[in-house]
């Protein structure tokens, strides 16, 4: 295939990828954009002003979504780094079974377990609370972090730890000065994408949050359903933002393995 054809096909691919984002962006700066207008007749920042005004519930939802995603990502890292280390460095009986147990939450759809988890959390008093939502978000985020970190540790030279120990470093010093610098880039990627996976959740948030914990995706559907397309457009653009920032930060680090686990969710 000639270079020109590649360029044309590549262009088509990019246009198709970007096309659904166009009406979202346009609605966020339009007033009364009706058929058959191809572009809005009136361009305005009014939807943004209204969305960010004190009477809007969007700023609060933004803070809630961010806080939940930060907490879910942090918890996933705390639990997932040791597990990833075990899977990446050791061979042991039952390892394949462990990997399968961690893969299952990635494959089994949220609604299939969410309704049952609602029962668990009802007994624990965790429904309708942000804490419950953070915990339920671990179902998709934790396996993701474990798999990314196991890939990181598979390429980690643990012999350096022994050398540091033989030179007199204490175990905690080894963790801090030897292991952490070596795995830091992987931790960053795992954490950022765990944040993104939590940020994007809908049905688990709705099931456990019961509509009391209002995140951006929930508001997005509420506004679109109410026909307030300008507010839905603003919400859509806001929801896109962290993903674009994170992609810009880690574009070169996206590998098949990381994509494999996190991309579909």
């Amino acid at each position: 295939m000639s270079a020109r054809w590649r360029l044309v096909l590549g262009l088509m691919l990019v246009v198709a990828s970007m096309a659904p984002l166009l009406p979202l962006g346009l609605w966020s700066v339009a007033r009364g954009w009706y058929f058959p207008q191809i572009l809005p007749a009136t361009w305005t920042l009014e939807p943004w002003a209204r969305a960010l005004s004190p009477r809007s519930d969007i700023p609060e939802a933004f803070v809630t979504t961010t806080a939940i995603a930060l907490a879910a990502a942090a918890l996933s890292l705390v639990l997932g780094i040791p597990a990833g280390r075990a899977l990446g460095l050791y061979r042991f009986r039952g390892k394949a079974l462990v990997e399968l147990a961690l893969l299952a939450p990635v494959i089994v759809p949220g609604i299939a377990v969410g309704l049952g988890i609602h029962g668990v959390f009802l007994r624990l008093g965790l429904t309708n609370s942000a804490l419950g939502v953070v915990l339920v978000h671990l179902v998709p985020t934790l396996p993701y972090v474990v798999f990314v970190m196991s890939g990181v540790f598979a390429n980690y030279d643990a012999a350096a730890e022994a050398q540091a120990r033989s030179l007199g470093a204490r175990p905690l010093q080894v963790l801090w000065h030897v292991m952490l610098p070596a795995i830091a880039p992987g931790v960053a990627v795992a954490g950022l994408f765990a944040f993104l996976v939590s940020w994007s959740q809908y049905i688990l948030t709705l099931t456990i949050g019961g509509g009391r914990v209002v995140t951006l995706p929930l508001l997005l559907y509420a506004q679109a359903g109410a026909g307030r397309n300008d507010q839905a457009g603003v919400l859509a653009v806001l929801s896109l933002a962290p993903g674009l920032v994170i992609l810009a930060l880690v574009a070169r680090r996206i590998t098949g393995r990381g994509v494999m686990i996190g991309g579909a969710g």
């Binding site: 590649r6 590549g10 262009l11 691919l13 990019v14 198709a16 990828s17 096309a19 979202l24 058929f35 058959p36 191809i38 639990l79 597990a83 075990a86 899977l87 050791y90 042991f92 462990v98 147990a101 893969l103 299952a104 990635v106 494959i107 089994v108 759809p109 949220g110 609604i111 299939a112 377990v113 969410g114 309704l115 049952g116 029962g119 668990v120 671990l138 179902v139 934790l142 390429n155 030279d157 643990a158 012999a159 730890e161 994007s200 809908y202 559907y221 679109a224 859509a236 929801s239 896109l240 962290p242 993903g243 992609l247 996206i254 590998t255 098949g256 994509v259 991309g263 579909a264 969710g265």
Partner: protein, 285 residues
Amino acid sequence: MAGSATSAIEVIGRGHPWLSLAPALCVIAVLFGGGLVLGLAGSFGMGRGGAGVDAWIAVLSEGRVWRSLGLSLWIAFASTALACLIGLGAALLLRRRFPGQGLARLLFQINLTIPHAVGALGILWLLSQSGFVSRLSAGAGLIDGPAGFPALTQDRFAIGIIAHYVWKEVPFIGLILLANMQSLGDDPESAARSLGASPFAAMRLVLLPLLMPALIRAGAIVFAFSFGAWEVPVLLGQSAPVALPVLAWQRFTDPDLATRPEAMAIAMLIALVAALLIRVAMVRR
């Protein structure tokens, strides 16, 4: 890996891997395992004063459930097949150098990060009868009004839903295949070419079989997701029949609490399909 694994065991052999795994496994066991067990128990009516198979009989004998199952399977099959096919084409395209390749790759990655709810709304506003493409058609004089544009969203064939999944998952499949192609290198294909194979034959008979394991695993993830996601069909699907996850949610939120066991039974049906997928595509043989 073997070398570093051996030395690692010698070096830090004091701790046991199960100790490091325990916290993560406990969380998954309680949340995921607990969710499945309670869902299963709930589908048999346990926890509300009796146990029985009433909900299962009701669900399995209801035509609406089977129509929803059929619809969800159609969505999953069509989305997975198209995403794999176009994803493979995109990977083959993006692996060779051409002007703007770097930018194309970057833009290609963007919709991996887009929440499904956002993408689904974008597809709705793009493809609906008063959407962006319809307006472009009207501007070009192809149609007179919204009714002249074909129903691509909330339609009988779930075109809008499938369009969303294909749009979202082509980069997912494509990037996994690209990563695999990079680690394979050019050697297998060059060898086939030097033995007289045509470029197409080298691709079909040498490269494709090498990519197949990765493609099957990635395809299984796409299938499971497009089969079981709720936010996409709820926005882009028609009101009857609804996709199976939407039906489960309707039963779960029904004011009549008696339908809850049915919701759980439908949720277990969805989990069962996912379990079959894991068995077929994921377990190493």
